[in-house]
Symmetry: C3
Subunit: 320 residues, 3 copies
């Protein structure tokens, strides 16, 4: 291992050995962490806006599997996505995933934190209302962000030019990775358009991994995409070194079910079963972790064959 | 909490805390219960008939999501369903779910019980044979209710006018909620027509929840339905109070896979992982329980987008 | 029970009782086994070739569900499959599953073993390159068998007439059943054509079951097949006696999700939950075990209705 680990993760990994991969039973981990450390609870604030962008699903215009060429017209569309801003919406910031993914910023927190997400609708493309609905966290109905005629408030139907603040609490059961997405009356077209993102929440006292890879499985323009890109050469190339604690945050929204597979690696589910392929359905999400010990150039992909063949595949490079 | 809990449930819930949600690892619960109490095993008898009804999938004729109006012709069909009768088929009784759901009666039992289900085929609509096939319980081949040419007996092929009694035993592994359905030669059309229901089985010594919600996901007339109804305004409105132990019995049959989601709530899987969305495929079923602590008007729905948009969504109201 | 059991399996089964069914939390079992016995690690060698065959999906030409007759033309195709050979490819051997299944040989090993699979491409039907990609085991990139332009070596693209040896290690996390399949540039057509098989790996010290049933769910010629056959009368008839430890190895590849169901039986998942129906998606796999105690003629099938109706159903006979 590249460096010493401290705390419950070290114990867990030591017990399992370097070659053994771990799907975080984050609940148990969190429990252990809670007794080992009592971090200060924070209020975390994020500023996120819905903004128009032009998005290219296949920037290299190449279907690397069938060896076909594609036109920019076939692969590019105008759409509205979530983008992060600096405090008080002063200016846009490059997202952690912003350069690579269609999804919104990866919002991080820790169990015990209160999260304030200030959302501004800057959709000048469709001029539709939008919202943010968060999975995994606790909130009052006013922060649900889901439109129910007669019941829901302004947070479920944020009009162009308006701003709304969602107040969320990361309870113990929030450990892990969770989707957020538009749940306003525009939901159907918005999710197809890329209005989704992820919340990543650590347990109390839990160390962050060395590498965190967001794998968002979705459909755009008829392509099967990872973070909004299709085919090797366009999908993210994830990189790690032997000894790194790597974490995969896998999520999906829309209509399709997938099976996530990484070549040359296995992980242990919380129930103790080893796996190298895992089913995931719309709005489900899971987090995998392992200590990397297998150098090489590997594939990760959805193992539904037509999805893989239609672009849902990428490369993972592990160096020594 | 609204009232004192006794027995293993109290211990479990106390350990987890009021805010923590529990997906029943019913097996473990049952084990604990078995040592804490030795209830008398019962023989439970039910009388169920296949009867013709007219069923309206969208009684208010309104697609609340797209805001479209529908005609009674688009939303109503004649079909055959399971309905409960009093002893010896003296007269029909209102099912527990009978007013709200297309599904047959919720048949309840406890581990250790013998269950006798007297089934009468009163199908004067199609005059087809029918049967009942039960998941989760133990039985001899004669009570399997599934048609196998050359092997199966009369219980797999109950002709119109005939009666058959299925003898079932709720073993320890029967704890939870399970589907039953027609498995006669008419199975394909029958399930599409609504010939399905649920068995709900408590562990020995396990207390019943304060609220039990049956969520049967299915397809009728091209709509995506919950208990045979589509769209908010038609699907069940489930109600609870803060402090209630609420139980969700989620089931599906047919061709489709779903992801069940409840807004504003999370639960802990038996493997310790927190979730708020759960995949379910044909003939799978699961039972969720939590102590309600989050007042408000919430949505529950299948998170497969086209299913939700086509009606598979309802309201859950929690009062103080 | 028919005979005495020794070792960790005996303990587990005794603890659960004869009537209780077990889905192997193989990980835990393996751990127990590791301390109870220290078997000698072996190098196991297999010789497997891609060879052309003519395959009939419905040999009796009968759709037993709809009662329709089919022509040989509708049910037979020429294809390329994996077949086992004796040492150094001297001559073909009858596979364990070779008489019944389209899939390749069931390759067996034990945790700690090194497995050498010598693969020869004898595809004179399409003259395409082929490969073998193995799930569940550890290997270096050269033995991955998956084609990545610019990165992968000869093992991912074995030309007709060529031979390649894959070197695999069964680590602790390899316990269970896993798919293997073509992952060369010909993958898409190959999997549709039947180029897949299974690896079955025991934990250290773990006893083999009395019966091992391979259930490979797939699509061929538009039929929904088990081991390449459709409809009762063609699909495997699995047989056991009361007291047998029976093991079901369930796998699937392709585009479809399934729910595996066995009549008259239940099993306990590693997380403690009882089930009789289990979802499985492409490249997932699971292994079930129970001590048989329920005589009769039973159905096993995929519970997705259209899959069952289109052939994905078979018979399981338990004698006293």
């Amino acid at each position: 291992m590249r460096r010493a680990l401290r705390g419950p993760r070290a114990l867990l990994l030591a017990a399992l050995g370097g070659a053994v991969l771990v799907l975080l039973g984050t609940w148990s981990l969190a429990s252990v962490g809670a007794s080992a450390a009592t971090p200060r609870h924070q209020v975390r604030e994020y500023w996120v806006a819905a903004v128009p962008v032009s998005w290219n699903v296949v920037p290299n215009r190449r279907d690397a599997i069938e060896g076909e060429s594609l036109t920019a017209q076939q692969t590019t569309f105008r759409t509205v996505v979530y983008r992060q801003y600096t405090k008080d919406f002063a200016k846009p910031v490059a997202n952690a995933q912003g350069d690579e993914g269609i999804q919104g910023p990866l919002l991080r927190a820790r169990v015990g934190d209160t999260i304030l997400v200030h959302f501004r609708n800057l959709d000048t493309l469709t001029n539709h209302p939008h919202s943010m609905h968060f999975h995994g966290v606790r909130y009052r109905p006013g922060s649900d962000g889901a439109y129910i005629p007669g019941f829901s408030g302004p947070g479920a139907n944020v009009k162009p030019g308006e701003t709304f603040t969602y107040r969320l609490v990361a309870e113990k059961s929030a450990v892990g990775v969770w989707p957020y997405h538009d749940h306003s009356p525009s939901m159907m077209e918005s999710i197809e358009g890329g209005m989704y993102g992820a919340l990543s929440i650590l347990g109390p006292g839990e160390e962050a991994p060395d590498r965190e890879f967001v794998v968002y499985l979705s459909t755009h323009l008829g392509f099967m995409t990872i973070d909004g890109r299709a085919f090797v050469g366009n999908t993210p190339v994830f990189k790690a070194k032997v000894g790194d604690v790597v974490q995969w945050d896998v999520l999906t929204l829309g209509d399709d079910f997938h099976t996530f597979h990484v070549h040359g690696h296995r992980w242990i589910q919380p129930d103790g079963t080893p796996r190298d392929t895992q089913v995931i359905g719309p709005a489900e999400s899971f987090r995998l972790r392992w200590v990397e010990d297998t150098p090489g150039t590997w594939l990760y992909h959805c193992h539904v064959e037509s999805h893989m063949m239609n672009g849902m595949i990428g490369i993972y490079r592990v160096s020594r």
